[in-house]
């Protein structure tokens, strides 16, 4: 479970535990997503899914800087954010398969996982659609003086949505504890971001007076350090921030996007995987620092794989919701 970080502990024994936990989380996300792809390919999953593979360090580095009751909002590419914030893989898979045991009783699916218990206000399939919600959650935190912080994850595609700037303006005016995390994985679906994004990305936040920070999104330590700083700032009442994380998605826009030659080269994909893999970067560092050896990391990997296998098994065996549930939950309190 993620807890608020005391920076002084990061180099101590507990700090080492923390890095290993982040390793485990990143590997969990990757294995989860590989299974999603597998379920899709074997026609066992209804609909589509947008995989987070390649971007794991962003969600994990940031959520590790959050307390369990801090809020996040997520996107169509949301599995990584939900898992990093503490969602259980079995109920995630159940939701992806439309089963009753899923986080949303099967009513939300891959793009709408929400979970109050882990502060997850919901993944959102409207590009930029959750910026208002994340800002509103920060508004409540400030009004009720709860000390909570709210993180709004979005892809660089959401930079095209005007409402993002409307809420940044309000967050700054009202000094709200919200952090807008732009995950620039270079592509808005099938279009390189540079074709549709003018000027300087971070300046779009700093123009409103937000603190701005840019990080290598493949380096979980860099992401985490930046997040810790911005979260502490927000919690201390110093206002909102924008964090730009530069990253890359390894797979297609969604699981069905397999022929990608018309918008990016295999060579580019290969290069990111070989040179900038977030899990590799962290394991190299862990081994180099002698925080863990290869055997320890293999052990973690085996544990994660077993957990994910069980989770898939749980979801596959779970039952579909009864059709009489279709009209339930339209209105609250009835």
């Amino acid at each position: 479970m993620a807890t608020a970080v005391d920076p002084s502990q990061l180099d101590s024994q507990t700090g080492n535990e923390r890095w290993l936990r982040m390793y485990r989380r990143m590997f969990t996300i990757r294995t989860f997503e590989e299974q999603v792809n597998d379920l899709y390919t074997r026609a066992l999953m209804p609909g589509l899914a947008h995989l987070y593979i390649g971007e794991e360090a962003v969600a994990v580095g940031i959520c590790e800087a959050l307390a369990p009751d801090d809020y996040i909002t997520s996107t169509h590419r949301g599995h990584g954010h939900c898992l990093a914030k503490g969602a259980a893989p079995d109920r995630m898979f159940a939701e992806l398969l439309g089963k009753e045991a899923g986080y949303c009783k099967g009513k939300g699916g891959s793009m709408h996982i929400a979970d109050p218990a882990t502060g997850n206000l919901g993944a959102n399939a409207i590009v930029g659609g959750s910026a208002g919600i994340a800002t509103g959650a920060a508004f409540t935190a400030k009004r009720l003086k709860t000390g909570q912080v709210s993180v709004c994850f979005f892809g660089e595609g959401a930079l095209g949505q005007g409402s993002l700037y409307e809420v940044m303006n309000m967050a700054s005016l009202w000094k709200l504890p919200v952090i807008y995390v732009c995950e620039n994985n270079l592509y808005n679906e099938y279009t390189h971001y540079s074709e549709v994004t003018a000027g300087d990305i971070l300046a779009r936040g700093t123009a409103f007076g937000l603190a701005g920070e840019s990080v290598d999104g493949q380096d979980v330590r860099a992401v985490h350090a930046a997040a810790r700083k911005l979260v502490a700032r927000a919690r201390a009442g110093e206002g909102p921030a924008m964090l730009l994380a530069n990253t890359y998605r390894y797979y297609g826009h969604h699981v069905g996007d397999v022929s990608r030659d018309y918008y990016r080269s295999k060579q580019e994909e290969q290069q990111w995987k070989a040179e900038r893999d977030p899990i590799q970067i962290l394991s190299d560092w862990l081994c180099g620092q002698k925080i863990a050896d290869r055997a320890r990391l293999d052990e973690i990997q085996a544990e994660v794989k077993a957990q994910i296998d069980q989770a898939v098994e749980f979801a596959t065996r779970s039952r579909y919701p009864n059709v009489d549930q279709v009209e339930q939950d339209v209105y609250a309190g009835e």
């Binding site: 809020y71 909002t73 899923g102 986080y103 949303c104 009783k105 099967g106 009513k107 939300g108 709408h112 929400a114 979970d115 109050p116 206000l121 919901g122 959102n124 409207i126 659609g129 959750s130 910026a131 208002g132 919600i133 994340a134 800002t135 509103g136 959650a137 920060a138 508004f139 409540t140 935190a141 009004r143 009720l144 709210s150 005007g162 409402s163 409307e166 809420v167 303006n169 309000m170 005016l173 339930q328 939950d329 339209v330 209105y331 609250a332 309190g333």
Partner: protein, 329 residues
């Protein structure tokens, strides 16, 4: 209606009193919108609230309708009870994603886990000489969306009681006020009361024809009913008060009794609220009807500026009278 000791309020005062009472009662309730604090809103509906509740709870926003409606959705999900003020009903175009894809669906998509207890207050109604972008009645759009409730009061008494209920509701509620009725006076008792959503009100009893009317059209229907009385036709006037939930039973029962029905609503007639209600009545009272249910709504044109043109776009006492007399003839 409780005894009222003769007290009368305007519709604007009734709305303000409902807000003030709910804000006193529940510290989670707050209002946000443009020019609502010291300015008290261009229609002066909110005058005095900032003095009592402070700028934190009567919050002036930038002119960012989509943005601050989104903030309200998030605030509602996390423990506050926002009342969003959209200055003119025409501007709801800017907030539709937040209302339709976010507020309305959050509860369902999350399998019933998150709730969005918020109220959207805005206006409807033409004939203020405000032209095409400040005169529309767009409430039908909200009725079309599962997850939203829609309230259209037609009297100060109803406005107060319904707004209090809307604020206490656990769901997103769109609350439409006719901007031409803010000065309409009516009895409002001193003592506290609320009105449930989903309960129509028979504004006038009659036996020959039922006129179902919403919001601004209720006064028009009552005026027409007087004209009809002079022509020896007894009209019953029913205000559904909330379009969702809709009190189908009261509407159908009245139709069965009178066997003739006109449905009036100031939204555009085509694909509108009147069409839906007419259909509900036709299905529910078909074998008791003497004539097809008649719909009367705004003409299907952008609202024009020039007074004679604008006046021609909305039903009038005379046009309702004539339609009713033709049906009863």
């Amino acid at each position: 209606m409780p005894a009222n000791n003769g007290r009368e309020l305007t519709l604007a005062q009734a709305v303000r009193e409902a807000l003030a009472e709910e804000m006193r009662r529940d510290s989670r309730v707050f209002i946000l919108g443009e020019d609502i604090a010291e300015a008290g809103h261009p229609f002066k509906v909110l005058t005095g609230l900032v003095e009592e509740f402070g700028a934190e709870r009567v919050l002036d926003t930038p002119i960012s309708e989509a943005g601050f409606t989104g903030v309200a959705v998030g605030a509602a999900m996390t423990g506050l009870r926002p009342v969003v003020d959209i200055m003119f009903g025409d501007f709801v175009t800017l907030i539709m994603d937040q209302m339709v894809n976010q507020a309305a669906k959050v509860h369902y998509m999350s399998g019933g886990k998150w709730r969005v207890p918020m109220v959207l207050r805005t206006t409807l109604g033409a004939t203020r000489r405000s032209a095409a972008q400040h005169s529309q009645s767009l409430h039908a759009w909200f009725c079309h969306i599962p997850g939203l409730k829609v309230v259209l009061p037609s009297t100060p008494y109803d406005a107060k009681g319904l707004l209090k209920t809307a604020i206490r509701d656990e769901n997103p509620v769109a609350f439409f006020e006719d901007k031409m009725m803010y000065r309409l006076k009516g009895p409002v008792p001193e003592e506290e009361y609320t009105i449930p959503l989903g309960a129509a009100d028979i504004k006038r009893e009659g036996t020959d024809i039922t006129i179902v009317a919403t919001s601004s059209m209720v006064q028009v229907a009552l005026g027409a009913a007087k004209l009809l009385e002079e022509a020896a036709i007894s009209a019953e006037v029913i205000d559904p008060r909330t379009l969702w939930p809709l009190d189908e039973k009261t509407l159908i029962n009245s139709a069965r009794k009178t066997s003739r029905v006109i449905v009036m609503d100031e939204g555009y007639g085509r694909y509108g609220v009147a069409a839906e209600i007419a259909s509900v009545i036709s299905e529910g009272a078909f074998f008791d009807l003497e004539a097809p249910v008649k719909r009367l709504g705004a003409m299907h044109v952008p609202i024009p500026f020039s007074p004679p043109l604008e006046d021609a776009t909305v039903p009038t006492e005379q046009s309702v009278f004539e339609a009713a007399r033709a049906m009863c003839g």
